[in-house]
Each structure stands twice: as structure tokens, then as C-alpha cells.
Symmetry: C2
Amino acid sequence: MKDNKNITSRDVDFAKWYNDIIREADLIDYSSVKGSMIIRPYGYAIWESMVNVLDKKFKETGHVNVQMPMFIPESLLNVEKSHVEGFAPEVAWVTHGGDNKLDERMCVRPTSEVLFCDHYKKIIKSYRDLPLLYNQWCTIVRWEKETRPFLRSREILWQEGHTMHATELEAREETLRMFKIYENFQKNYLAIPVIVGKKSEKEKFAGAEETYTIEAMMYNGVALQNGTSHYFGQKFTKAFDIKFLNKENKWEYPYQTSWGVSTRMIGGLIMVHSDDYGLVLPPNIAPIKVSIVPIKNTEEVLDAIKYFEMNLKEQDITFVTDMSDKSPGFKFAESEVKGYPIRLEIGPRDLFNNQVTLVRRDTREKIILEKSDTINKIKELLIEIQHNLYNKALERRNSMLYNNVKTYEELKDIAKNKPGFALINWCGSTECEDKIKNELGLKSRCMPEELTDTDGNCIVCGKEAVTKIYFGKQY
Amino acid sequence: MKDNKNITSRDVDFAKWYNDIIREADLIDYSSVKGSMIIRPYGYAIWESMVNVLDKKFKETGHVNVQMPMFIPESLLNVEKSHVEGFAPEVAWVTHGGDNKLDERMCVRPTSEVLFCDHYKKIIKSYRDLPLLYNQWCTIVRWEKETRPFLRSREILWQEGHTMHATELEAREETLRMFKIYENFQKNYLAIPVIVGKKSEKEKFAGAEETYTIEAMMYNGVALQNGTSHYFGQKFTKAFDIKFLNKENKWEYPYQTSWGVSTRMIGGLIMVHSDDYGLVLPPNIAPIKVSIVPIKNTEEVLDAIKYFEMNLKEQDITFVTDMSDKSPGFKFAESEVKGYPIRLEIGPRDLFNNQVTLVRRDTREKIILEKSDTINKIKELLIEIQHNLYNKALERRNSMLYNNVKTYEELKDIAKNKPGFALINWCGSTECEDKIKNELGLKSRCMPEELTDTDGNCIVCGKEAVTKIYFGKQY
């Protein structure tokens, strides 16, 4: 089979390829609302699949869901200074209710730290009330000028965890615990290898003391920040005057965290695994694992379909059967474009020999096998495909990591000729960070804990380096 | 045990009782955002429980979830005239993005018919694309002047189904099918008996041809519209010029429905079942079915708790164990206020006799039984409590139905002295409907299909009646 004619090759025009995949797989539609997208059923099913896994993991670790208002009065947004400076330029303002001008305008939440603090102030009284481990699934709005489906949108579906703790240690542990949950989710479900570490001062979340990030590398070597976890210390609790009586009966400010992932992860999924035939979804996150395609609608084929549908249902393996009047070739292409991990082709000739055909989406390999072996083989393959996708992504990612960059010239060469992430010795100054950004178009990614020991001076200014840090192009 | 001191008696001050229940059971908190509420973990868990059941039922009937933008440009809202007239007075307007004034202001969706139509116009081409059975879980905004937790709020969590069909028959069937799902959900999960039927012209949804409603009666005889299903015919599809090629290869406008329920149902749950001791939740919707309360923390008691926790988990029966240092009396009251259907009290004296105590939340009856019988008895009781709550609600509701009202004087007497719903002969005119509303404070509820045969003239104007219809006070 040839490449899908409706999809530009990803090696020819990656941006166009990305849009083609999204359109052909029916993930989104553009809307009359500038900068907002419509998430279509198949795109939303992928999000639901992510939500189900994460929500379960959050609850297993003691978190509970709540729902805050979607509006923030301007005065409330203004309470924490560094926070409002980061967000005010990109919020949507509600100024009228019906025909009446509001006394105070309100923005649609770009994130909900201040709303949670406003509530926490009322319900936190004693150490007995802590920790508070809250999470919220909702939509946020950021008034982006340029938008891209899933990657940068004015409206974003996400979750935001907001927690309060009696001690710094506990809050720091929470920041890292949730961060670890994200990392494992991306590895084990999305099959995306990630580089994790602390953000620079410049790149951290507005108002946070520390931001930990999950950095994924796309097929083209460009970075996607695919989740963050923030440690706030007592910054907001002091600004909001939230206090609790500790065990020593003294008033103290609690310690705070927040953490979030969004539909952006769907963009990451696409740009890590998909190919010129369409979407490729790792089995552990694919809403539909198997597509069944009859080659011809004979009685034997229809009986076999019923048999497989029953068996797949029994094993809790999701499937679709394409009974449309399209040709088998069309159905194969459709199944590939949608990224169903396994295609089960059932034809009269195969059946005559008591056989069927399985096709792996990841390798496009055909496997002809005994009908009775099929379900077991499918179960095996789902695991194998998941591993294969991760390993392929890991190998490619590693081939684009430059961990031994010693001079600014080398970094320049990478920025120009070699897509990927470069690890450099850095003095920690925003000046050097800005220079790299302005001259080379690379932004700092993160300082991965196990790789931060320096082995030379800052490659920009030549002063003493305090850490190593990754730089790369970003979405 | 005496009534909960923090809760006003519902027979003394129903409105205050309602607010007390909501506060004492930790369902919501008020926020700095006027008219919006914070749904706290326990309140949100009840909503999640509703969402899980309904989402499954929607999917079983072929519906898929999508996500539309939350904003509606003013010109898009204006496309269907009767719709915009109904909603424009109560929308929140976004006029600025960051520092920039928008070219066209946008409202936050009060409902999403026009957004769905805008999308449908692009994706509907042929009869092969129909039906489209979409649903969306989201937040909507209506700028209410007076708000009440769960009943009337500026922000509402809800689901809105929006479907398109090739034939009128199919769309009408869908309207009734979803309506039936709501009715069964309220009966079988919320244990709320409902009166179902068509709304009057005046009370139907802005833009709909027909609105079917689920009317529940609260403890105080006041009505709560607890879900609606609308048939639009081709009204919007003509306004939006949405056309498809039918099987005869001719262009035709499809037929449309929409249907929704919201967090308002939580308000209904409270006002139907709860009492002066706190919340009462039907087991089929309660997020937590059993509360375990140790009377004393002896080794035997702790062992027994472990034993019951293990067994409840095995049976998939949700529970909480109160290990706080409060007194048993406090814990009992807390368990009642939260409305956990069954309380399992474990004390050393009972255990010595190999016994434990169960307390039903609905009747507050104590049952002392053998430890080994407990899990089976809990399973039995959960079913029994569910039935009992429904039957109690049904009996009370029926005692406040006046199905034999023959004169305006009788209706006046009911409006003044008898809470509940009155069924009257009606000529169908909005004038008579308005007269009842303005003079007696009753609004039309619905025309229940099996009760619409008239047996007299309109009790207001004396002209020929075309139907019977319920009237009642409403939230």
C-alpha cells in the first residue's frame, strides 16, 4: 500500500503533516470561534482515555476532585504580584452580564491558584485540616495570538492539582510525587520517553518557587513541555494570609503545590508516534485497540466476525467493525489513518484454511495465523506494540541528544543543523539564557537532576557554571 | 439522638434548612465570585457518581462525547431569532483579550445549540453522515440575578446532548428516548418519582418546537424542573442552512434534538430525601455506601475493621472509616449529616458477643446482628433503602397531587393553602397561563401524556379546554 495521499510526508513538511493527521483522523474541527477548536468524538475519546487513567492515579494517591468558579474577579487575580504579571496579558475579560456593565470585570480563569487560595483561606484552620489534596478537571482560557490544534489554543482542557501542606518537606514531596506520576504516565501509557527536571528562573511558572517539567522530544527534534509540577512554598499563602494552628499551637503559613497536564499531550502523542499513513496510538491509550475488516461479506466471514467480537468483548479489548460498503483497500487506509493498533482482516479464502490476518499498525507487518490463536496473539501484540513504540521513540530521542557540548560554537552548529536537545554548562544567569534564545532560537528546557554536575565553565559567558541545562527549540 | 443542632428543622424554615444541609454536609462553599459556587469534594463526588451512570447510558445508546468552544461570537448567537431572544439577556460578555478590545464580543455559552449547528454545517453532507449523536459535559453560564446553590447558579455543570437525524420520526424518537433515560435515572438512581410531559408554548426552551420536561416535587410541594429534552424540527437547520443529500439524492434539512441535565439534580436529591439530621442519599447514587465507626479503638475492634474493610472492598461496596479522635456520638452525627446510607458501629462489647450494629440512615433503625451476617445484610439493606426512599417520596408526592381541580376557586385555594401540583382543564392560551401565574403565583409544569384528556372547560376563561396541564410553584 502506498502512503496516504491526503497526508503530506512528515519529512517533507512536518507542520503540514501534523495538520493533515489531525484532519484525516477526525480529531478536531476548526470553529467560528477564533483560536478555539472543536474536539471531535475520536479526539475526545483519546482525551477521555487519558483522563480515566490519570483520575484513577490521582485518587489512588489520596486526591479528590472539586470544581471552582471559572471566573476570577480582577482584584482577586491581583493579590499575588508575580502571578498576575505572568497571566494578565493573556486573559479574556468578562465586562458585562446581560445588558449590565459589571462593577468589577472578571477574567476567565487562565489557571486557578488564586481561586483555590481564596477557598483555602476559609477552610484551613488547624494542622488537622491538612494536607488538602485537591484536583480539578476543567477548561482554562489563555488569549494566545497564534494557535495550533492541541499545542497552543485559547481554550485548553486540563486538570490542575492544588494542594496545601503543613510542612515544606511534605509539599516538596507532593511536587515530586505528582511529577513522577506524570513521568510514568507518559512512559507507560503514551509510550513517550521524557526528560524531567527543574525549569530555569526565567521559564518557571508565574508565582512558583520551583517548576518541574516533563520535556518530550517530537519526531523533528523540537521540545514539547508536556506537564508541569510547581512548588510554591508560602508565597501565595502569605499573600492571601492563609494560616493554620500547627501542632505546637502556633499560627503558621501552609506550603503549597500545583500541577497540571492538558490536551496538549494529544499533540505530543501525534508528533512522537504517527507516520505518513496516519495516526499511530500506543495500545495502552488507544480508545479502540482492534479494527475488524471483512474482505467480503460472506456468511462465513460474518460468522467469524461475530465470533471475534464476542471474544474481544469477553477480554475487554475494545474494537470497531467496519461494515460500510467501502472497498477493503479503503477500509485498510481508514484503519491506518485512525491509528488502531491492530487490524484484523477476515476473508473467505483465509477462513477456508481456518486462518485470518492481523496487521500491526506500528510496523505494518502482516501476520497470517490460525483463527483459534488470534485472541491470544492480539493480547501479545498489544503489549509488544506498546513496547516497540516506546523503544523506537527512545532510540530516536537519544539519537538527538547532545550531551557533550563544550563551546558556544558547537551549540550554534546544533541550533542550525542538528534538531534535538543540547546539554550545556551554564552560569545560571538569565542574560546567558536570553543570549542563546535571541541568537540561536533555543530555549532552556530543564536541569535533569542526575546530569547537572558541571564539567567546565558557562559556554556563553565563560564564568563559573553552576549547573548543566538542556536547550532546544520548542512548541 | 437529638436533631442536629446546626440544622434548622425543615418544617420550620425550609429554605434555611436547605442551606444548612448544604453547609453541614460540606457540599459547597460560597466564593468571591458573586453567584458562582465552589463544589467541594463531597458535593463533587455526588456529581461524579451521576456523571458515571449517565455517561454509560448515553454511550450504550450510541452517543459520543465531544467538546465545543466555550465562547459564542455575537453574530453566531444571533442566527436563530427566538433562541437569541431567550438567552441574550442573561449571558456573560467577553469584550477584551488581554489589553485588546475584541472586534466582536463573545458570550460564554449559556447552551450550545448554535455552536453544534456551526459544526454540523461543515460535517453533514449525506444521509450516510446521519444520525449524529453527540453529547458534551461542560460548564455553562447564565447571568442569574438571584442565585441558590445547585438550583440557580451563574455557572452550571451539565451535559448537553445535541443530535441530528435524517427524518422527523427518528428525531422525535430520540427526544423521547433520552427523556426516558432521564426519567429512569431519576427513579432508579435518585429515587425521585417524576411527572413527565410536554411544556406549554410559553415555558418551552427558546427556539425549540417542543420541550419535554421531568418535573420533580420537593418535600415542600414546590416543583423542580430536573431535566429537559427538546425537539427542534428543522428550525435551526434552516436558520443555519444545514443540508444533506437524502437517499433520493435530494437536498433536505435534517431534524434536530437537544437534551440536558445538570448539578441542579443535587438540589433535587437534597430537597426530596434529606431530613433534620442531614443529607439522605439513595444507595444507588451515594458515593460512599457505608461508614464504619469504631466505638473504642481496642485491638479486637481494629481487627474487625480490617475484616470489614477487606470484605466491603471485595464486594465493591464503597466505605469510609472514621478513625479521628472524636467521640462516637460526634461520629454518628457526622455520618448522619453526610447521608451515608448505612452506618456500621463496631464496639468491644458487641464483638465479645460476635455481633456488630448497623444503622439505616433512612429510618435510623438500629440492627444488631452476627458479625458473619453483616456483609450480606448490608447488601440487602442497600437495596431496601433505595426502594424505601423511592416509595416514601412517591407517597408524599402523590399526597400533594390535586388531579381533580374543577374551578378557578379550587385552584386559588390550592395555591394559598395546599402545596403541590394541580391538574386543570386549560384552553391552551398564554393569557390564561399568565393569569394563573400573576394572580396565584403558579407556573405551568407540563402536560403528562396519559392525563391530558379534558373533562370540562378551561377553568380560567371558561372556553373549550384542549388539554389538562399541571400547575405548581417552582424553584
